[in-house]
Amino acid sequence: MRRLMGVLAIGVVAALMGSTAAKADQLAEIKKKGTLIVGVKTDYPPWGMRDASGNIVGMEPDMAADVAKRLGVKLELVSVVSSNRMQFLQQGKIDLMIATMSDTPERRKVVGIVDPVYYASGVAILANKKANIKGAGDLKGKPVCALQGAFYNNELQSKYTGTDLVAFKGIPEAEQALLDGRCVGFVYDDVVLVWKKAQDKKWEAFDVVALPEWKPVPWGLAVKTEELSGPWGKFMAEATKDWLKSGTLLALEKKWVGSNTQWLIDASAAAKK
């Protein structure tokens, strides 16, 4: 037993030494090269998109710009998509990833998701005002538009509507069906619905009603796994805490999305304490 413990202890020490040895200080490196490279999305307005002249703009690019300002370095934005964002980070093509990524245990094994998380999206329904929907309880027996394959569809039907969903392949079809009066509402990510409603006059006769039955899924920004406990990961954790505390994220959300989500209001209030 003693010998076993001894072997284990040596192993742990070796592992620790190994990991510290392999850890390059990315924070110092970024400062040295004078440029911060951040991977953001360009296909997810208003979190990340291209403006008329092709520049990458949005809420997450603004956050990236703030990080560069704190470091006193230049900012370089790289467009990533869901299928390559984690690989870009692993391969060192980007220093930091702020790309609307949901925080899941599987992803935490691959990249270093920084705590606290900076954002979250829940589920809501963009409901026709005439249908007078106040919550999931009012959906019984009613036709509800949705996207095929969304994670909440099963529960939505089995627990709340009781009838088959009017589910389409893409968002445009579901929106058209909703506008045509073929369903009482469209169930989707709350943050996107809030933005859509603020963006377009055609949604005037519709309300975004939160469905707190589904817990918000947090969005995490990420650094390389081995940097998470190093100076770079700690720096980003501090920056995120400060964004929440100082209301920077609330202001950015207001600027880009149009209004504030309950999750961010709560998270900012909690950070102040």
């Binding site: 569809n153 099963n154 089995s158 589910a167 079809e173 009066g181």
Partner: protein, 248 residues
Amino acid sequence: MEGLWDFLRSLHDAYGINLVHFYDTFERGRMLRGMWTSIKLAAVCIVLSVLIGILGAWLQGSRFKVLKAVVQGYIQFFRNTPPLVQMYFFYFALGPQMPRVVNEYGISQPMLGSFEWAVISLSFFAGAFNIEIFRSGVEAVQRSTVEAAESLGFNRWQIYRYVVLPLAVRVCLPALNNNLVNLIKTTTQAYAIAVPETLFVASQIWSDRINVFEMMVTLLTFYLLLVGIFVWLMTRLERSLRVPGFGQ
């Protein structure tokens, strides 16, 4: 029945074969509703498209040029466009232009729903082919037979109804079978306009339960059975209508 569900459930635990759409009450319910919707959709479309075929083939023999041109135009329109595009067109382009009714939730909605539009578009689509199929049968009926009927004082409709059509049907049944089998398979496209038929429900279940392989096998088996039963019925019809010596 419970014993069977328990057995299927144990398959999942023991071998990872996830037949949740059979043993789970909710999933089974919607799976069966989906299959029933497919059967209903297919049955209604078969009847309507055959009626369209019979009527269209008769109108093609009309003396009025305008009528003939209308039928020809209809055939060209529906035969030369993909059924999925037609369905989208009907549901999203034509649907909202229709008169609206206020439903029980106080929302004004277009008069026809997705099921109705699927019936309309599929029936017209298959109907266009059916007209041509019936025409081939009509043209196979010998002129002398028609003349014999005329000499007995039958009018045009009577000749078609009592002499030409019964013979034409016998000639064109194999081709008609083919087209109707195709029609049954095309009902899966109603999935695109959210008709909760078998493929629609199956895709909901496989994205919820990640049992893609099992759902694919179930889907294939279902359509194999559905079409198999239909073909068997049609073969029996063909045999019962056989006139010894006719068409040889």
